[in-house]
Symmetry: C2
Subunit: 316 residues, 2 copies
């Protein structure tokens, strides 16, 4: 008999199909399992699949008494209370690097779109502004990327792929991360503040957590400056969205490209009405190949867990 696995977050059926081939899925569509399934079924659940950003705390774990494995679909696991999991002997797995190229591509897309004002440009053409020669939002040419200083915050697998791509645009690349990587051909800045002072474009690729919450705040945005852009493909929690909104409205920075938001799927109305921001609904890892790779990590983690082995992609 196949093992039971709870689908903890709201995940499209198209993404969980591959798991259904191998496990018996209890999919509560994002509602707590005990509200949907009989108590005796919930009591049998030994493993679950979750989106790493979905909150999963001690109380949630306690409602699943047999739980032994939390497997995150994707690289992030910031929603999971790791201490609470450890205290309950629950192992946590994820899909490291499986989506790194796809996420880095979106980071570059948002950077180029923000610097070259794609939102305003596309809308100017679509609404007839160009053909009617209405005053153009693009009349004042923006600074280009060549020679521009791009700062990468976080140098994990995604940060590295972002940096490699950015460097091909004839830019100067700098980075800040907890660890200095001497194998990388980029300038190391010793703090996020120093990176913000140095760069014109800030690419946020840091792993989210308590210590990074709202670390990009009003003060930091001021350091990036009026020609500056902020791109976030990490987690919405890293940016103080209120401060970002003010910075974009008041010209404290020039633009922003955001794939992630503080309270998804909610993108603040104030942000989405601006033309100097480009927004996408957390599509970083959303490519055919990256889903296949992430699903392979999930299956491998679950198979190992049910076989009583160490997870191949375990969060340390």
């Amino acid at each position: 008999m196949p093992e039971k696995v709870l689908i903890y977050s709201r995940l499209p059926k198209s993404l969980t199909q591959r798991f259904a081939d191998r496990f018996e899925l209890l999919d509560s569509g994002g509602t707590p399992a005990h509200e949907v399934f009989p108590a005796e079924e919930v009591a049998q659940i030994r493993a679950l699949i979750t989106a790493g950003g979905t909150p999963l705390g001690a109380d949630d774990m306690d409602r699943l008494p047999a739980l032994g494995a939390i497997v995150c679909y994707g690289t992030g696991y910031d929603g999971v209370d790791l201490k609470a999991a450890a205290a309950r002997n629950i192992v946590v797995g994820h899909s490291p690097g499986a989506n790194a190229a796809a996420v880095a591509d979106v980071a570059l897309m948002l950077m180029l779109a923000s610097v070259r004002r794609l939102t305003a440009a596309d809308s100017y053409v679509r609404t007839g502004g160009w053909v009617e020669a209405r005053p153009s939002p693009l009349l004042k040419p923006p600074p280009g990327l060549s020679g521009c200083k791009v700062g990468v915050y976080g140098m994990g697998e995604i940060g590295r792929k972002i940096a490699a791509r950015v460097a091909a645009f004839e830019t100067e690349v700098g980075y800040f991360s907890r660890t200095r990587h001497d194998d990388l051909p980029y300038q190391y800045l010793s703090s996020l503040d120093a990176l913000a002072e140095w760069c014109t474009v800030l690419m946020i690729a840091v792993r989210a957590g308590a210590e990074t919450t709202h670390i990009v705040d009003a003060d930091l945005l001021k350091k990036i400056g009026p020609d500056g852009h902020v791109i976030n493909i990490s987690r919405g929690s890293v940016i103080d969205e209120g401060a970002l909104l003010v910075a974009l409205k008041d010209g404290i920075i020039a633009g922003a490209g955001l794939d992630v938001f503080e309270t998804e799927p909610h993108a603040p109305d104030g942000l989405t009405s601006l033309q100097n921001v480009v927004v996408t609904p957390h599509i970083g890892g959303n490519t055919r190949e990256s889903h296949v790779a992430m699903q392979a990590c999930v299956v491998a983690n679950l198979a190992a867990f049910f076989a009583g082995e160490t997870l191949p992609y375990q969060v340390k």
Copy 2:
């Protein structure tokens, strides 16, 4: 007394200011000079500045009897009848390479936006689709760029810069151009047809002219195929826009990114109502640095001409 220079195309004042510091500008705002200025003034015009795509034929030249130099603002000169100019001993100058990095950046922006469906994604967030959990246009993950075959058509300065950027995205790069360049680390395909058969993303960076008009037609689009994308930063005339519209509507290709159109500033309504296309109003070279560089070429060409010297950036 400063030399008189005609501004032949409609160019924003902000872009011609630097020329006004050095020359006496006769700016007819895109209207033929003889309709705006007295005949004796028109008869004195020895040089003009034009956007390379603006039509400038034998008849136009004959209405400027003293004309000795046509100086294009930008790298293109496809609007200028070179044979007619040569027959009248009129030299033609342009700004080669000055905008190559800026144009290549827009090519990459449009490629990423088309492959990752930025138009649909941004609009889904802005119109509330995400927060209301409306059916997502992004539900079916698109193929990502990694491992994808990208074909560059044309290997001039812009094509080279496009290829160097594209290669950083873990893609396979191939190209077709009249000349095979053995110094380049990319696969050479022997025809545009072969390139279209081979690639998933076609980047058009060819110099426009009579022999490239509508060379990207219905047959070629079929070769690119249903996962394919067409990106054009060259000239609109290279693509048969009617065929492209059908291909985008019928799923013959997946998407397109267009900075240029057959009859600018007109972008066909059919195209601008589609979500699998991203459009920009010919902003390829529109950065601060690239305007400075293009203006420097224009000034150098004009100064040389009035000094009786060979143009430093002469079209051969």
